[in-house]
Symmetry: C2
DNA sequence: CGCTTATGTGAACACGTGTGCAGAAAGTGC
DNA sequence: GCACTTTCTGCACACGTGTTCACATAAGCG
């Protein structure tokens, strides 16, 4: 019937194979393979001819077939989480660029709640060299699954103590502690804290840490928070949270758990309330995304050292690939104060 | 020598194979394969036992091996370009989420000048179902290579007429034309245009289009540009360009080729020059990134309909996978005016 | 029991590649 | 011409899977 008319194009759509090149060039399939293998014995003239025929036909050795016998697939799975925060987006972007430059192929799993979605279930079918997680998409069972399947795992944003997984994060508590001290020196006394969302188990640890640094510094000064509010790490969320807090409370320092919320809060304070920052009120963030340095914000914040973190991820990746049995490592990078114009 | 101590761990690091499960469960390898294949003849009891042993050992069928005989690998290559512009970043992020949700696995190639880098050379080795390009990373030879290798290709941001490639872009010229008309109605007469970088061949087409819409509207009003300046689509670049232009020229409408530069220009105009926008001067952008709607910017701009574009990309992907011989399609989506507070 | 049908199973093949191995061809020294 | 080394090449195997095919077992029916 229409078998022929359907099958022939289907056939021709298939990838060009080494066999086809061999037949066209009048050599054995092995020779074709050797033409693409560095340092294999093959007559120079023959090699040149094979490469030309290959170019004509558009042949490339199929990586999947080759990786069946290879030790490494050079593919790295990257779980990004939702990337609502610009910091996450910037970090992932930098990471992907670095992986590409290092000859690794990032297979990205993205979207909401990716860790317990069916998508991750399918991911285990890939012979990936390693998995890299951004904190938001972490879940305990991923760590266990990776351990069982002997897949090197690197987590950033959250620290995990495990024999088989490495993690990188900044010293969140130290960062907010230093920031709070700065505001105290500036004479601030009535502090409010806009926090991240509660209930996201995987972000709970650094959420708690950032808050802890504030509380500790205040305690040492004999103070406590005047107000606190949970939001969602977004600009809009920060704006709404600032409204909620400032409607009912008289505060002179509005600290936010990340920069996105801080810019939202800043907008509300300046545009809607027509208050002067920092004269009437301090507003601070966390992460030091590129936006925070723009003149229109000029936000006082704490640097979450993106490039340094990516450096560590790449280092851990290489080290663990070189020695898979190496014990799990927890890297803590410092979170330095970035005093600008809003404190 | 140390062969044993090195090889044994290496062996044990290898993926668990169907053979191993079969031996452990006392069945044939075929049975294991059938246990993971929907609708294959296999005794229910046996299947349950196999699945349990597989779970214990942490076995998953290797996708690479399976895809050797399969028609489709479900892997889609995504070339992102440099993502300097927030619009690109937001679009890519949405695209990745959609691909994941659709059961496709995005293999991301990222970074500067990715199209002619050695990285893309290695990409041809993967049996990808399709390639998706963001305009910035486009280059003519990619289109030709994809055509030759029968790889479906979808390009966004730039329109390409090709038998084998689809493309999606917005009506750039219409967008800037409408925007310019709005400013003319507002009474503006002395226009300046901050353009994208010259020399990036692959972005030349939409660069030209956006400019053309402005020129055309001005011509119809018997006007021409008072000043023009090339920049780089970034916040910092827009800020610097605004300084260059406003130092030497008296303008009442400062139009920018994208939102990032517009926010930079806005900062310079408001913070540094202490001018009132829009009373003293109009500032406009293009793309309508999420930032543009924030109260602190409230930028008048043109919507580059991100979600609609991603919808089209996904549609084109499915259609072309269903019928690879379908002729190339060029989709133009409208770029609607978003009048806010800076005009 | 004999025949037919339904169900379950292992051997064998195909997918496309890199490489070990043995042997062929070619070059070198006498 | 002969022994020996060097360069080259094709065969065959391995990688891990899905699926066809022939066969075995069991069940249903007269």
């Amino acid at each position: 019937m229409s078998d022929e008319s359907e099958n022939i194009p289907a056939k021709s759509r298939r990838r060009v194979t080494a066999q086809a090149v061999a037949e066209r060039a009048g050599v054995s399939r092995s020779a074709v393979s050797r033409a693409f293998t560095q340092g294999a014995y093959l007559d120079q003239k023959k090699k040149a001819q094979i490469l030309q025929v290959a170019a004509e036909l558009g042949y490339r050795p199929n990586v999947f077939a080759a990786s069946l016998q290879a030790e490494s697939s050079n593919i790295v799975a990257v779980l990004t989480g939702n990337m609502k925060s610009h910091f996450d987006a910037e970090l992932v972007e930098e990471l992907l660029g670095r992986l590409t430059a290092a000859g690794k192929w990032p297979l990205v799993v993205s979207g909401e709640k990716v860790a317990n979605a069916p998508s991750i279930e399918g991911l285990w079918g890939f012979p990936v060299d390693a998995m890299i997680l951004r904190g938001g998409s972490m879940d305990k069972f991923v760590v266990e699954a990776c351990a069982k399947l002997h897949i090197p795992l690197i987590i950033s944003g959250v620290t995990v103590t495990s024999e088989t997984a490495d993690s990188v994060a900044c010293r969140n508590a130290d960062g907010t502690y230093a920031l709070t001290r700065l505001l105290l020196e500036r004479g601030r006394r009535r502090f409010a804290w806009i926090d991240g969302p509660t209930g996201v188990v995987t972000q709970e640890s650094y959420r708690r840490e950032r808050r802890k640094g504030v509380i500790r510094a205040l305690e040492q000064a004999g103070l406590e928070l005047v107000a606190s509010c949970d939001s969602d790490y977004t600009y809009e969320g920060g704006l709404a949270a600032a409204e909620t807090i400032l409607r009912d409370h008289d505060v002179d320092a509005l600290m936010c758990a990340n920069d996105a919320m801080a810019t939202g809060a800043l907008s509300f304070v300046r545009k809607t309330l027509q208050l002067r920052v920092p004269e009437d009120l301090s507003v601070t963030g966390f992460d030091d995304v590129s936006m925070a340095g723009w003149p229109c914000f000029d936000l006082t914040t704490v640097r979450n050292p993106r490039t340094e973190i990516v450096d560590h991820i790449m280092r851990l990746l290489h080290e663990r690939l070189a020695d898979p049995s190496k014990p799990g490592e927890v890297v803590l990078v410092s979170a330095d104060l970035v005093p600008r114009g809003t404190h």
